[in-house]
Every structure is written in structure tokens, then in C-alpha cells.
Symmetry: C2
Subunit: 349 residues, 2 copies
């Protein structure tokens, strides 16, 4: 039997989020029903709620950094049992048969189903995200939250955590590597913590000297004022890897020239307007690369959660009540958040 | 004793190349004096002669695809002896102590000395290229031309050959890989031949259906009309690697979307105006990369020459006399060359 559950939804692009009852599908043989405890607030939530990508279906229930407790499992479920603390990230299903899926990189499946704004396989209904009482998800897309990880702080790992962890791992960040992080927001601050925990030398690029101390507290070895050409030039040809988390259009070449031979800058944000660069001469000069990376696969997301538990890496969060979400969006737009809002879903009412 | 040798030089950006006597340095202990037999004509020669990069010192003697015979060697020379058939490419020296140099990747040395337009270490004089009777080069930068390689056809390998061979090797092109080549000029046609010899499936992108048959003759498995969106779309997400040899600004995204997961497009040309793209979403969507690569190191250049001898890979060339060089430049500007001019240096007079 489908069940009606409380949620917070946007009814249109220009209306605030408000309470709405939504329907969750019946728990199938492979499904896990999760009572949601915490839900992180990602900038994508705001983009989606306000139809800034032009593909929102209303009503829209955002939220893809979900932590909760298993209430019920289907007859075929092997990986989870009632009472387990679990997480759900940006995907709730995929085709399971394409090359990326069979290689555990579901983030590249052309038919992946988003936690919100996707279309559910069986019901053909829109998927609704984690700003809600509960959710029903195929067990393959349900992560274990390891013991020792604060559940509230685990929530943002499901998107901000894996989005930064995956490229850091893919490009071999570790001891002996000099790693830059551009942008110190929800993604950037996780990039700093993770790269530091992986043993790399971490340098933060910021436009504000006031963030130097913050950057060091997060684990950065140093910070560079990106608006100061002299400071930037002193690091020319020196970075093995730069994680660029800025989603506003900017001149990539300011960073490309800082890459050493064979260095890569990976973008994890995508601006509405195109970036400037990269210039071909700069790429040629050091066999440099500019790349991009989206979230991560399910196997790697579990690996990331286990890594964070082992190395005590968690995001800086500010807990809010569900009713604060519209104010939180406004604060997010002013960068007034250190560094991730997490909704206490017990406040949903 | 320095020696005066015949050469062909540009006296200014807007004058045709004409005969000029230049001076070559005395043969030092590590030097090899080479009587030049053949010199390929690279588009860079034209850029330099006409000061299109704004850093030409006149008189300018272009030519960095040099094949000749050793006339004399210095007392400390071990790798070459008089009578040997040898080659010289784009570099005649480097610092020898930096990380790229010690790792055999002199192409990334910040102090590499260009075959023309560089500044010679000892004499502090400008270097002159291969449009000349002879040249004196440190033995480390002198390549062996393997037996079985036609000397005239070996010349373009020293720039066009290594510039395409190096990225194909670096990005692991071989059997089971689908490789695209954008642009069918001096570089592109070598890219096709080399990728084919390496065992890859090779697809040529061209703006002219008339080149389909040519592409196949060069070793391509198929060709795509890059101006036909339907033909392009049919190859979405399918290329492991794309070698982009076009040096005119264009929209990179037309090709980036054809890369499969983890695919790379490598630029080997650099336009005066910036390219359009790559778009961040396209990079993110498949963890794709856009990179660049310049020539190659000395060790790899020797490897490439040996590979070409073994696999019978040589450029398509048209032999010209030295006096034809100005007309050849004009033809090059009209893409009226299949695919590389080589100067018979016996015609220098």
C-alpha cells in the first residue's frame, strides 16, 4: 500500500516551501522504508525548487542528503534491517545494466533516477526528496551510516562529501601531493577536510583574507588570496590537483597556470554562464587537464562514509528546523552559512 | 671556429624569405655538426617568420624538422659519429637539471632552447633553424634516424610526428580504443597513421565529404562530417580519446560530448582567439577531460622514430626546393598541401 507522508514542497518557482502531504510507494521486495531524521540543504535544492535549471516538476520536494532509520524492509532485502541507521544521496535508482552501472559508477548511468525530480521506475511518478517524513528506496541505493559518525553531520556527506571525495580519490590525492581548493562553501570545506585527511598539502584559494584562519582550522596548510596576482604567481606550476568548487563563471586560467606538469583541475560546480578558458597554450605548456566530476557511485559513497568515520571527518553544520528552510535559502544566497544547513526532520510536525 | 653557412631567412615580418649567410658556433666537446639534407615545413615556421606570435627576432631562420648527416663530432660525443643519419626537432637544448629534464621530458623545461628563436647558452646569440646548410647541436638533442626510414619522410616526424605520437601514447591509445582525430593537416594525418599503427579504431572528423576517401587511405576506419549534427550525435559518449589538431578557434563542446566516461580530448594546436568551451556540465557528466600536449621529450622522440621505422609509418610529403618556400607558405595558408612540405636542402645553392 502506498502511504501518505508529510513533506515540505515548493508549489511553484516563486512561492516559498510549505507543508504538503505526498505519497510514497509501497515497500517492494528490494525496498527499504526509511524514517528520515536529518536532511542536508544543498544549493541544488534551491536551484530545483526555484526551477533555475528549467526542468522542475511541481510540486517539488527537494533534499538529497538524507539520514534516517530503517523502519521496514522488503522480503528480498539483504543489506539493511529495521533499526539500521542509513543514508540516501542524490540517486535512488539507475538502469543497473549499462557499463557504468555494472562497474559501480551509477553516477554516470544515463538513466539514473534522481532522489528528487526523477521518475520512479514502477509508478512512473515523480520522485520526492528528503524534506519529508520518510522515503522508500531500493536497497542498492541505501548507504550504511558507520558507527561513530554523528547522524546529523553524516547527512551532508551524501552529496557534498562524495562530490569532493570522488575526484580527490580519482586523481590520486594523498601524501606528497599539493592540492588546491577553490571556493570555501559546502563543497569546498569538505574538499579541504578530505584532502587533508588523505595526507595531502592543502591550499585554499579565497577572495577574503578573513577566511585564512577559517581555512587553517578546517585543515588547510595555507591560503592564497586569489585576487592578488603576486600571491597567485608565487604558486605557478606547483599544484598536482585543484578542486574547483565554484559554480559562478570565472576565468579558469588563473588556476590552470598554477598546475604543475600533468596537473588536473577538476570542476565540481557548473555555472549558468560559461567559464572563461582554459587557454590552449596553458594546457599545452604543462600537459595540463581541466576535467569535471559529478557525485560518486554507491560503492564509493560507502567507502567515503567509512573513510569519514575512520578519520573523524565531518562537515561544519548548522541545524535548522523545517520551518526555517525559506530563510535558510536566503542565507545560502548570501553565503551566510558555515558551511551546511541540516534540517532536523523531527521539526517537520 | 664559428663557421658561416648559407641559409634562407626572413629579414622582417612582411618580406619574403631570402638567402642569407648565418654563423654557426664552433663544435664544442658535446656538439654534433650536421649537414642538413631535408627540412620539413611546419606552420610554426610561417607564424615565426611573420612574427605572428609577436616575439620574432630578425633575421629569422625557421625550420625544426631537420634531417641530415653528421659531419663532425666533439671530443666528448658518444651517441653519434660522422656519417650517421640524424635528426633535430623543435629543441636544441634545455636546462638539464629541472624535474622535467631529469625525467626525460625536456619539452616541459622552462628553459628549453628552441631550434630557432631561442638563445644559445654559450654564445647568447639567437638560434637559427633548419632552412640552412648545416647546424651544430648538443648530442643529447640529436636523434638517430633508424635504418629503413626514408630520410626525406623522416623530417616531419621530428615535429608533426612527435606532437601527435606523444599524446597518443600518454593517454594509452591502442587496441580496443576508439580514437578521434580532428583536422586532417600536417599533424592530423600523422595522428591518423600513428593511432592506426597503435591498433586503435580511428575516426576522422572533417568538414569536407571529399576527404572521407583520403582519411581511409591514411588508415582511418571511418570519417564523420563534423558539420552534420546527426552524424556527430550518433557518436555521443563513444570516444576514449580525441586528438584535436585544429589551431583555429572552434566550439570544443561539439567534440567533448562525443567522449565516453573518463575520455580525454587533447589539444595540440593553440589558436590566437580562445576556443569556445568546454562546458562544465559536459565535463562533469562523464568525468571528461580537456587537455593539451606539446611536442615530446628526446627519449620519446627517439621511441617514435623507432616505432615509425618498425611500423612503416611516414608522412605524406611534397618535396620542394628552398627557393619555393615563399610560394609554399602561401599554399599552406590555403591548405593546399597533402600533407607536409619538405625542403630538399641540396637546392639551397
Amino acid at each position: 500500500m502506498p502511504s501518505s507522508v508529510a513533506a515540505f514542497a515548493a508549489a511553484a518557482a516563486d512561492t516559498p516551501l510549505a507543508p504538503l502531504a505526498i505519497e510514497r510507494r509501497e515497500v517492494g521486495p528490494q525496498d527499504v522504508a526509511i524514517d528520515i531524521l536529518w536532511c542536508g540543504v544543498c544549493h541544488s535544492d534551491l536551484h530545483y525548487a526555484r526551477n533555475e535549471w528549467g526542468r522542475t516538476v511541481y510540486p517539488a520536494v527537494p533534499g538529497h542528503e538524507i539520514v534516517g532509520r530503517v523502519r521496514e524492509v522488503g522480503s528480498g532485502v539483504k543489506r539493511h534491517k529495521p533499526g539500521d541507521l542509513v543514508g540516501v544521496g542524490c540517486m535512488v535508482d539507475s538502469c543497473r545494466t549499462c557499463e557504468p552501472c555494472t562497474e559501480g559508477e551509477e553516477q554516470f548511468c544515463a538513466h539514473q533516477i534522481g532522489t528528487y525530480g526523477g521518475v520512479e521506475k514502477g509508478t512512473q511518478r515523480q520522485t520526492f526528496g528528503g524534506y519529508s517524513r520518510s522515503v522508500v528506496v531500493d536497497e542498492h541505493f541505501v548507504l550504511r551510516i558507520p558507527a561513530g559518525l554523528d547522524p546529523a553531520k553524516a547527512a551532508p556527506l551524501l552529496c557534498a562529501g562524495i562530490t569532493t571525495y570522488s575526484p580527490l580519490r580519482h586523481w590520486g590525492v594523498g601524501p606528497g601531493k599539493k592540492v588546491g581548493v577553490v571556493g570555501l562553501g559546502g563543497l569546498g570545506h569538505m574538499g579541504v577536510k578530505l584532502a587533508h585527511a588523505m595526507g595531502a598539502e592543502v591550499v585554499v584559494f579565497t577572495t577574503s583574507p578573513s577566511k585564512f584562519e577559517e581555512a587553517r582550522k578546517l585543515g588547510a596548510d595555507s591560503a592564497i588570496l586569489s585576487t592578488d596576482p603576486a600571491q597567485m604567481k608565487a604558486h605557478n606550476n606547483s599544484f598536482h590537483f585543484i578542486l574547483n568548487t565554484v559554480s559562478a563563471a570565472h576565468n579558469l586560467d588563473h588556476y590552470v597556470r598554477l598546475l604543475r606538469r600533468n596537473g588536473t583541475m577538476c570542476l565540481v560546480g557548473a555555472p549558468a554562464e560559461p567559464h572563461k578558458g582554459p587557454g590552449a597554450w596553458l594546457l599545452l605548456g604543462g600537459r595540463r587537464s581541466v576535467a569535471g566530476s559529478p557525485i560518486g557511485g554507491i560503492r564509493e559513497t560507502q567507502e567515503m562514509l567509512d573513510f569519514c568515520a575512520e578519520h573523524d571527518v565531518t562537515p561544519e553544520t548548522e541545524v535548522i528546523a523545517m520551518g526555517d528552510i525559506n530563510a535558510a535559502y536566503e542565507r545560502m544566497l548570501r553565503n551566510d552559512v558555515r558551511y551546511r544547513f541540516v534540517i532536523d526532520m523531527s521539526t517537520l510536525g
